[in-house]
Subunit: 260 residues, 4 copies
């Protein structure tokens, strides 16, 4: 899978990072510069935010898409953002380099089909109680439309309890998916744990387990984030994490992909 | 909630029944006549079928909607059918008396919002790993659009293993939801168990637990069904079940709603 | 299975009731008289209490056993109590009419073997994440010692979340176990829900689903209970429940077993 | 925690390895020599095997204990073995350097208390549906007897399905337990995955996540193993794994503990 020149699923691990949601021009530019400098190759940032409650912040929507396109071009970093309505796929694909389909929409079949038809690279997240077979069959809806550009993302499954973590990161899924599928597999340690202080350990573990990349929430100021602040790293924490990830990647004969 | 004159959530239990999918004119008319005669007040039947695999039967789509409208009018029974794309809501509402939002789409927020805007009655199924709070917040997306016509449906949660049943019917949800919400609560024992031979026991249990209704899969010939045949009752089994449900309903001071 | 003349697994449903733990002579006598008068055929009451924390009340132990024997004889009701150490099996069997093996000990194999060797009737509770095959193989450890007197008890499986209930009562297990095993199957709606106000609905549902009996927590004064007070019915609530259970049992062609 | 001179929970990661069960003198000596040579500091091997079915191999029992003691002395490696009956604790402690309490017995409170009283080092495995609070309270039963020598072991939680793995290794538990408890935390990638081919990836991930050690199943000839052969590494696979673990440990500023 190639996203604006970045190869995912090749020898190098690709790190995607950025805020949960695009909140303002200032915020997304600060985030983009910070994560690029630390070595991330894709910027994440949601414009359309699927939220459990209708009364939570739902994202900047079209304004967020515009900001994402602008920041991607000016800072020089590929972008990935979520799409939640099949009829928005074209618009989102025109503004971002990769489409994300979130865990809640893993079996939103009209959305998968439209993402498939778009031919755009797709990051497909595993649903919180989806088996690996259900996950791969969801990917098949995209592939079946003639779009081979699919990256699988393990983001945590339904936990035994939520006293300490929001989900249970299922790292078993990494070697299993690498064996039973040819698609690249990345891990989201931010949703997988739900707390910034556990993200570095699980990020390192994911790379050691053989993941082809990570998607990590990083916010210029997590305490002021409009969503998911609790699980977002600061730019400084992320930069530290990148250094340790390089060491772990080297220990399993891989590298963290860097800007050329 | 009133669906073409049928009150759901009142003193009587409302039984919805019919095939998983509309498969042909002959099949849906046979099913409609059988379930109406046995006492069902709504006919279920899918035109748009969300299927785990893209290679499974996906429903007759628009042709299915037409058949459903025709059978509802000619046989004289209200209809409920699933909608999976937010942009189909208007079309589906024009052909069926009640919109169903399936378990996989419980957090498909654009779909919930469109269903809310339609003002049409909505049957909202609980996702297989959704907490009751997540379920009620999903209903809130519909209510928040000014549509109070929402019926909640427990259809089984992710099971410990699938050796004997497809899901674990969570009947605890019935008294809890009746306590924490004012919305009617029905149960789907067909998906809740996944096997026709366990459906009667769980249907009776649901009524005894206080459910306001049931939605049951009935097919004129389950062995030939294009989907979910294993969990569909025959018309004769359904007629027997209805008789026993009347007795259980009476034991908890309710009645099974009958045609007036 | 016959426990002091009470047949479990025959045409009638057998109700077992009583406090979580034997707390005092006064308490257990009051409970015994109340549940017998309301129609229960066995008195439950723990002497050895397995508690999650070592700092919680652990039961009156041998003193509790003595009280249980005394109350059973004087009030004239059969008794069931938990055993947690294989080397206590003989002592417990000498003081109670039926041995209970709790959910935490479902795979405590030395305990199962000793319970099997005792020849005493055994109430075996399903573990919170045990599959039905694991449950039946645990029963097999008892049967394999030549003791056919085993009653299976569904007491709730690990829940999706604990916001409203302590466990998820798996009533699917009732028709499945009745089909794949010849052993009697009862349900514990007290642990299955964890809250007294949901117990009646689930108790009725269990009988409607075909359970051969129930085990229900009843305490003379739930607010003062040393354990599980939140899920215990008062004697008055239990008496009301028994009346409604008779109606539900009749609706499925059974009766609630009464004193002869 | 110190086991025959081996420090667990210090700066170095301690690897425990060996067969699921002691099967014969030849087998356990071959295993002991192989794992010691590859760098393991403790030999695992079960004498008392808790098995789901009563008809499966139950271990060599006392003969197994004797062999374990002999091999530990002659080969010069500390040993860990499971105890399942509280009344065997003394005997097992006399033959092995560390007591293991298995996942099924995590809440076998008489066993925990006896293990506590013994003062012997204890390896406590997390139950498959135990929350971390329940796990720590189980450890508290041992600590409360005045025995501080407890090592916690994450061995996989109940999986969403068993199509590809036997359990879901919960590596989130590693950083969480390290934060909320002072006890050493190790991981069992063999039970965590259930398949030898996934063990190396998860073993590396566990070390990267900060585990203080691993317990790995290694059998001289996995295909002939009387239990758990599917998840056992060969001695050659284990030796390769040890080499890669050293690299991963170094990447997180730790070492794999070696014989001094």
């Amino acid at each position: 899978v190639k996203v604006r020149g970045v190869e995912i699923g090749g020898p190098d691990c690709v790190i995607m990072a950025g805020p949960c949601a695009v909140e303002s021009r200032e915020q997304i530019f600060a985030a983009a510069r910070a994560v690029k400098e630390a070595g991330a190759r894709l910027l994440r940032g949601g414009a359309f935010k699927p939220r459990t409650s209708p009364y939570s912040f739902q994202g900047l929507q079209n304004e967020g898409l515009e900001l994402l396109k602008e920041v991607g071009e000016q800072v020089g970093i590929a972008t990935v953002t979520e799409v939640i309505d099949p009829h928005d796929v074209g618009e989102v694909a025109a503004h971002a380099d990769m489409l994300q389909i979130g865990a809640r929409n893993m079996q939103n079949f009209p959305l998968l089909i439209e993402a498939g038809r778009s031919g755009h690279p797709v990051l497909l997240k595993r649903g919180p109680s989806a088996s690996l077979d259900e996950f791969l069959l969801a990917a098949e809806y995209i592939l079946d439309q003639g779009n081979p550009q699919v990256v699988l993302c393990e983001r945590g499954v339904h936990p035994l309890d939520r006293a300490y973590t929001r989900n249970t990161t299922d790292l078993n899924a990494v070697p299993v998916l690498k064996e039973i599928s040819h698609l690249p597999v990345i891990v989201d340690p931010s949703h997988g744990t739900g707390h910034a202080r556990y993200v570095p350990a699980i990020a390192r573990a994911a790379v050691a387990a053989g993941a082809d990349g990570l998607i990590v929430e990083v916010h210029p100021c997590p305490r002021e984030a409009l969503s998911d602040g609790q699980q977002s790293l600061t730019p400084a924490q992320f930069a530290d994490l990148m250094i340790s990830l390089e060491r772990v990647a080297a220990a399993v004969d891989r590298r963290i992909a860097r800007q050329s």
